[in-house]
């Protein structure tokens, strides 16, 4: 059963559609079992000025990759002090 572009459900687990890597059970947040990389928007060329010129808190670009094939499976624009959003949950 499809979960999204790169993930699917197999035997109640979330699994990579490309390489078959098993992340976790469907109730859990798959992002916690993915590989995570945090980047600043200025470093990846999407913002041209330092954030501190505009605001006191930091918003980061957080990327998640499949631990098996290192496909970029999801990204977040998120406050630096917030954990990964449990964004997809089939019930």
């Amino acid at each position: 059963m499809r979960f999204d572009e790169y993930l699917q459900l197999e035997d109640e687990n979330i699994v990579c559609r490309k390489c078959g890597h098993v992340y976790c059970s469907k109730e859990e947040n798959y992002k916690l079992y993915a590989r995570e990389m945090v980047r600043n928007f200025t470093d990846v060329g999407l913002v041209n000025r330092p954030q501190h010129e505009l605001m006191d808190r930091q918003v980061i670009f957080r990327q998640f990759f499949c631990p098996g094939c290192f496909t970029n499976i999801e990204n977040e624009t998120i406050l630096a002090d917030e954990g990964p959003i449990h964004d997809k949950q089939l019930t």
Partner: protein, 662 residues
Amino acid sequence: MPSWVYGADRFEAHDKPREELKIDPELKLHTDADPGLDPVTYEVLRHRIWQINDEQFMTISRVSGSSIATEINDFNVGITDEVGDIVIMGSGIVWHCNGDQAIKWVLENRSENPGIADGDLFLTNDPWIHANHQNDVTVLQPIFYNGELFCWSLAAVHQVDVGGINPGSFCFNAPDVFSEGNVFPAMKIVEGGELRKDMEDLYLRRSRTPELLALDLRAFIASANVTKRRILEMVERYGASTVKAVMRRTMDESEMLLRERIKELPDGIWRSEEYQEQSMAGDRGVYAVRLAIEKKDDTLHFDFSASDEQAGMINSARGGSRGGATAIVLATLASDIPWAVGGIKRALKFNFKPGTVPCADYPGGVSAGSISGVYMVCNATIVAMAKMLSSSDKWRHKVISGSEGSWAVMYFAGIDQYGNPAVNIVMDALAAGIGARSWKDGDDTGGILEAPIGQMANVEYYESYYPFIYLYRREETDSGGAGMFRGGCGGCLGLMLHDTDVPFAWQWFVYGMGFPTSNGLCGGWPTKAVEAMILRGSNIQAHLDRSELPADVTELRGEHLLFQTKGAYEQVRQNGDIFHCYYQGGAGYGDPIDRDPERVLRDILNRWVSEEFAYEVYGVVLEHDKESVDLEATERRREEIRSFRREHSRTPQLEPAGEAVT
């Protein structure tokens, strides 16, 4: 928390079902619907109502003198049944489907005193009743047949200025609604077919552009007149109960079609967050709208209750936010279902927490509600809906990644080349980029999802009416979010003053400058964040003397003056000052290194993507001729990117967080 202002709760409107409405019994409603409606008559009259809705829309555009209606289509119109449930909504700004709440409020609060009668028009812009912000003035018309209230027409048009502390009424210096534009909680501006002069004066007195508002008021009246005439012609010909049956069935069918679709999606919960920096001038906070969409059986539940507390002037009230989320459902999952919102809404449930950004308590600042609180709701809904749709093999083609992350508005005020005072708004951002689909690239400068027929005005319009010269208006390289399918590029513009010695005050309002707010899906990248600046005292004249037009502000020299997201006036003079801004594109879908290299080559040749960005993010390497892809080098580069990901990532469940990777 209830408002501290005495009696404010009386203006808190909700979308009540008809059986809960408390309407003066003296007001007779037409409820009779022919149970024997035949399918041919149904189709003929359903399309007739659609045509009337089109004429309703066009009349406003033709009669108005404001570029917002004549050029940009920043308005919308609808036709409802006798209790305000929308039978058809136009394709202007779709979030004005919240006008149903205003009709229900008028039925409950105006039916006894001053009464609702044939020939009346009610005007309102009260955000707590329905409006997105005070500029979105709405006129409601009850249409009577044989002494019974048969149906309503509604029209909402953004007005250039309705008062408040800042020209244009996006009041970034206002701590609350008392310093913002006037709030009119539904007043009878036309009574028995006569425009009430006292009400018109009250309406226009606080505006800096009363002449434009007066013209738009006539446009409202003209549109209401033609709508009423066409509806009554149809009723006379086919019978009131037949037309009412068509209205009922149109709503029922839209509800049925949407519920069938929802039922085919898997049950689940999808979440998203949308941020905005700065709640008013001088503020440095970051504020979140948080959404969880739960799909159960054939209903979608939208829960915004985890959003941040209201702040400054970026908030919206419940009605606007409900309209924003509904607009995204219409633009995505229901894009090919008739927009009979009265039926569509039955499959949508909303939960807002009072006192939050998308559900502000009175007297919180709401003057930027449309392009702040409501817009954040829209963006959060686009992303959460897309995540939901990506789980369905049947409906994933409806996925649209984050689109046109914010609606940048540029207000100007000064003396024009004809010696007249001028206040207006540049709305080029209506040509922002749309997000990628799950099967194709997003539309470059394609517009705004919530405004299907919104458009930027012609350059010639601004140059003939105002003392400006457009130096450039173009699509911005590398602004479409990277992905297997690329987001649509956003656009940029450069303006200079011309033919006036008077400095112009330039006001800027947006969000998404510190970080992008069109967010990608399934590995798709966000767009580039907004930029805005004045290049003070540039050398533009030397370029013009050589008959050269620059294509970008980087080709000019001058002092860079960068804007904050919330306003602050800057004086623009005819001494080389240039206003430059870039507005966001759409986000990408899928991992950028899964993109067909030939598509990246096409993007490079069209200047949608730079060669450097193609190498860094897409992992595409060109041959020396720069007109073809080096496939072997591309595969090596993509393997390098995978290795980089492997070496610089961690597993959150197992390893502590590290520093950002540069």
